[in-house]
Symmetry: C2
Subunit: 163 residues, 2 copies
């Protein structure tokens, strides 16, 4: 059972994803903004992650690579828009280098309530077909498995901070 709510209305170029984590906002935000943390959780369970560049600031670039067990690499790149602080939305463009030119724009917000933090991500695509292709390629599984790893990482960090 997925713990991530994913909304993709038919005919719309948008994907909305929501997940709530048992951790304060600063901690969850840092897991997205710090590449040393990000590479520990992002992406499907069977893939490892290498981050070639990650500059979370206005006009900063990023490029990361998911690596399959047989060595196959899937590279993604984009640029950040705006300040990437915990109080503002994280915004960036997103392109899989295997399908160049099909670029989406992503926004992530971090809202805390009673010590838990809900991350809402909105991806918008230039064409509905691009959005549908992303879903058909198993995006949901990758997001879910990544967020499960993030759950564990946050639990470990919280356990460490109160130990």
């Amino acid at each position: 059972m997925s713990k991530t709510e994913i909304i993709a209305e038919p005919g719309s170029p948008t994907i909305v994803m929501r997940r709530t984590f048992d951790a304060p906002r600063e901690l969850v935000h840092r897991a997205f903004a710090d590449p040393e943390l990000l590479k520990q959780w992002m992406g499907p369970a069977r893939l490892t992650m290498r981050i070639d560049e990650y500059e979370p600031r206005h006009a900063g670039r990023y490029r990361f690579v998911h690596i399959d067990t047989d060595g196959t690499e899937y590279a993604f790149r984009g640029v950040f828009h705006g300040e990437q602080g915990v109080d503002s939305a994280m915004m960036r463009t997103f392109e899989w280098e295997g399908l160049p030119g099909h670029v989406s724009f992503e926004t992530a917000t971090f809202v805390e309530s009673d010590g838990r933090t809900t991350v809402e991500s909105i991806s918008v695509f230039t064409a509905v077909e691009d959005r549908d292709g992303m879903i058909e390629n198993g995006m949901q599984i990758g997001v879910d498995e990544g967020y499960d790893k993030l759950d564990e990482l946050l639990t470990m960090q919280l356990a460490g901070s109160v130990a």
Copy 2:
């Protein structure tokens, strides 16, 4: 009568704009990519334009300001995604600094046929309300008046090149 086709389906976060210019693709593309040309045509007729920065390359920044007759300034900023050559789509984020955080993603393609060039621009917004707000703020008039100026600029350039 508008010469620009503008499509904004109800309930969708997308605006599609098309306009055909009597000029070859390289010339039309240059009018978008070269800030010295861009500032001669972009935006509503009554405003002047100042370009503070314009780096049409992957992760390049831009910031430009439209200035009203009474001196009021309207500033816009964003970052380019991808190579900005004539063969690839021009892609960038777009934010009016007067309404920070409401960012859209824009793609422009240049297709030539029989010596004429059709520019298709697609803007996608994170929320439908942002898209609707942009339309209510008179975006269409600004685009139309800007494209009319571009028509004149291209005519002058073509006249100059054959003189």
